[in-house]
């Protein structure tokens, strides 16, 4: 088509030149609504970016927690960010598997969290292999969490759940400050 209709196809054409790498870079500027110092890419929420046959930019995201109230906001933020940069057609897809893991959090994200006063996750994936209690249970429960304020490892768990489901409450036993710990998941 040499002379596309002026109104409708302007958006469609805008998509043709969209580069997947560029979209990733744009998404890396979209902040998590709950923890604004970390982007949704650094948090590992964005799983894929594709341009489908119809030239629609499809962004696949995965929820951190199934009840995460921020997912709708995140989807809206992505759409807004891409549209603002001229991506005409955007679709948000949700994927549950593999389930989101804190292992997907980037090194940049971990540093940003610490500076923000939230201790980043320290274990690898949580152990869901067995139900055995005793020594193992207690060992799992005591990850070596460093205080984001003074760096001390002399800390203790106050509560398994903090201000959001993804965080636990800790207290530093040296500087005495309470802090959030981003749980391993």
């Amino acid at each position: 088509m040499d002379t596309p209709a002026v109104t409708a196809s302007a958006d469609v054409d805008a998509n043709v030149d969209v580069d997947v790498g560029q979209v990733w870079a744009w998404l890396a500027e979209v902040a998590d609504p709950e923890i604004p110092v970390i982007s949704i890419v650094d948090l590992g929420i964005v799983r894929a970016v594709d341009i489908d046959a119809g030239a629609v930019c499809v962004v696949t995201i995965t929820p951190t927690y199934s009840g995460c109230p921020a997912m709708d906001v995140i989807a809206a933020d992505i759409e807004q960010a891409l549209r603002a940069r001229g991506v005409g057609q955007v679709r948000i897809a949700t994927r549950l598997t593999p389930a989101w893991s804190t292992d997907w959090m980037s090194a940049v994200g971990r540093v940003a969290l610490t500076r923000y006063g939230i201790a980043p996750p320290v274990q690898q994936v949580i152990d869901i292999s067995g139900l055995r209690h005793g020594v193992k249970r207690h060992a799992i429960q005591a990850p070596d969490v460093a205080c984001p304020h003074c760096g001390s490892h002399h800390t203790r768990l106050t509560s398994q759940f903090g201000s959001t489901p993804c965080k636990a409450l800790y207290q530093c036993l040296d500087c005495r400050e309470p802090f959030d710990y981003f749980k391993c998941h």
């Binding site: 929820p63 927690y65 109230p69 759940f161």
Partner: protein, 250 residues
């Protein structure tokens, strides 16, 4: 009704009713940390509810989405086990109900990871990570309060004795459950029950609590829609808005 729809409703309704009950404690927890934990668990369960009920509605194919299923069904159509509709009571009861539920929920979800239904396996994988934290928390608190003061020990033992009769329904399989086992969708009852009892016995021993007899008479009927009278009151509060203002949206 299609057995799988029924099975999905059971999962969704368990999470929904327990979530609703825990939400009633928002702002009333015995300590700030517990208040937050209760509501976080409620939120996790609500998220899981959405996944289950959405799938149930799609599978049913009658145009009912998660909201219609949650807000426009009456008591007899709910498929939750009796355990989750037991009153919040005192904190020992809230906690014991949670511990018994978490212990079963965990072993069930672990079994569902192997489901031949890929979507069920996905939901189980997502939920299991969350439920692992629920289980750790409730198990810890059972130990702390059971092996605590004389008063806390007595209250925990009383709650356990009171609620134990509701800790068996999940392992009494009916035609729906058996059809799911046959299709490879759900795990068989016996291994689940064994894992559940093993875990519960271990935690209760550490908590210095006496475990009631596993062979005791167990209440049943919730999975088939026969609920206690409290169930209607739970729904009355949960469904009020949609009943009074049909199709109201946020």
């Amino acid at each position: 009704m299609d057995a799988k729809v029924d099975y999905l409703l059971r999962q969704g309704d368990n999470a929904l009713i327990l979530s609703q009950q825990l939400s009633q404690l928002c702002g009333k927890g015995p300590a700030l940390e517990e208040d937050m934990a209760l509501t976080n668990v409620a939120l996790d369960l609500l998220g899981q509810t959405r996944l289950w009920l959405t799938y149930a509605g799609e599978r049913e194919g009658q145009g009912r989405d998660e909201d219609r299923l949650a807000f426009l069904r009456d008591t007899r159509e709910f498929r939750n086990v009796l355990l989750v509709e037991q009153p919040n009571g005192d904190y020992a009861q809230t906690l014991t109900r949670q511990f018994l539920f978490d212990s079963w929920h965990y072993v069930l979800l672990r079994g569902l990871l192997q489901s031949t239904d890929a979507r069920i396996a996905e939901i189980a994988e997502k939920s299991l990570k969350e439920v692992t934290y629920h289980l750790r928390r409730s198990g810890d608190l059972v130990v702390r309060l059971g092996d605590g003061t004389d008063v806390s020990h007595r209250k925990m033992q009383a709650a356990l004795d009171e609620l134990w009769t509701y800790a068996g329904e999940m392992f009494i399989y009916d035609d729906v459950d058996l059809a799911m086992v046959e299709q490879g969708v759900a795990p068989a009852a016996e291994p689940l029950r064994a894992a559940f009892l093993e875990h519960v016995a271990e935690v209760l021993a550490e908590a210095t609590l006496t475990m009631p007899a596993p062979g005791a008479y167990m209440q049943r009927g919730g999975k088939q829609g026969r609920h206690g009278e409290r169930h209607g009151f739970i729904l009355a509060e949960m469904q009020f808005l949609q009943r009074a203002y049909p199709d109201a949206q946020w």
